[in-house]
Symmetry: C2
């Protein structure tokens, strides 16, 4: 299952100390890096989407984050990746070498100390929200919160095009894919969302205020 993927466009201004970068393309469901591998690169998504996840011995999967174009992933303060990363669909990324960020020369990687701290602190905040979601919210609340998040991150487009499958959403929300489907159907039946096309990945949010209510309270009808 070796990874031989896409173009490789090194760019380095001659004679100047500039960040090296390369572009890569990964095909659907291909691994970008594996848990416990040396964390040599940071990634920025040009197009497509990426899931980072952990597996339990028996195959249960928990997705820690879903990354969209513009997002950075693979940042580590330690020496190894703590998640596996896979391309969800055809995905282009730009990679830059990260020197050992933690304990090494912080400036060498092109990240300032404050920048690195900001990125890690952002991950922490998202993980803490995720804990609240998984620990104390019902299935419909989780799905509503997920849709709000995607809507926000994709800049509230008229048509929300989800790049991931139901299974990915389920493993991000700690649910079964059938439950995710059922919540979508319920929201559709209540007029909160609609499918403008045959594709079930394309969604129109008819009532964002109602969706926000659904994300917060058990008492919504």
């Amino acid at each position: 299952m070796l990874q031989i993927a896409g173009s490789h466009n090194d760019s380095k201004a001659p004679g100047s100390k500039q960040t090296l970068w390369s572009d890569f393309t990964y095909r659907r469901d291909n691994e970008i890096f594996g848990e416990a591998e040396p964390a040599d690169y940071v990634y920025r998504i040009t197009s497509g989407a990426v899931r980072t996840f952990k597996l339990l011995p028996d195959g249960r999967r928990q997705i820690g984050a879903l990354h969209l174009p513009g997002d950075i992933f693979g940042i580590e303060s330690g020496d190894f990746y703590r998640f596996t990363a896979e391309a969800i669909g055809e995905t282009r990324v730009r990679i830059a070498k990260q020197e050992r960020l933690f304990g090494g020369d912080l400036e060498a990687s092109g990240f300032s100390s404050k920048e690195l701290l900001r990125l890690i602190a952002g991950s922490l905040e998202r993980a803490e929200s995720h804990v609240l979601l998984l620990g104390r919210q019902s299935a419909p609340e989780r799905v509503a919160a997920f849709l709000m998040e995607m809507d926000r991150r994709l800049r509230s487009p008229k048509i929300l095009v989800l790049p991931m499958r139901r299974r990915d959403i389920a493993d991000y929300l700690g649910l079964s894919h059938e439950t995710v489907t059922r919540c979508f159907s319920t929201f559709r039946d209540r007029g909160v969302l609609g499918y403008p096309d045959i594709s079930r990945r394309e969604i129109v949010l008819h009532d964002r205020a109602r969706l926000a209510q659904l994300a917060m309270g058990r008492t919504s009808t």
Copy 2:
């Protein structure tokens, strides 16, 4: 509900630039700091235990972390606390002023940049494990994992004295307190643990290997 608590022992070597610190004592269930308050101090527990948590509007509570003697809590890279902190039982803490760590003079607080990064990265790692626990593990697995964690953090004593109530454990694990109780009872019936005393807070782990199995697999009998 104002907080007027305990002794206040400022210490400053005269003429030298030394970290200011004070000791405080909080009584059972008293708030140490509230969510969204300015993050002016960091805390280190001398004795007792502390829970940090978030509340949903309808009162559901998710405990993000349980802090034991020696632990530091209240570290923030931003300007405000993101959790509420309460003393679980009678608790002594030592506090130090944290200058605005993020964007300010990193060194002013007595924390080096690397030290701060290490602390935040540690929080991130714990939050990510917590996500896996809440998203993909069953109730018995969560309780077993909790007991393993407490056993490790309290240095595997003969008698494990839990400082928190069942409800705190439940809100940390995303379960009801009755479910936590039932898991404890099941483990006791199977000989994995025992109560050496009348107090249900004091636990003896008879079979740590078995407990580790229970924490990892659905297939344990």
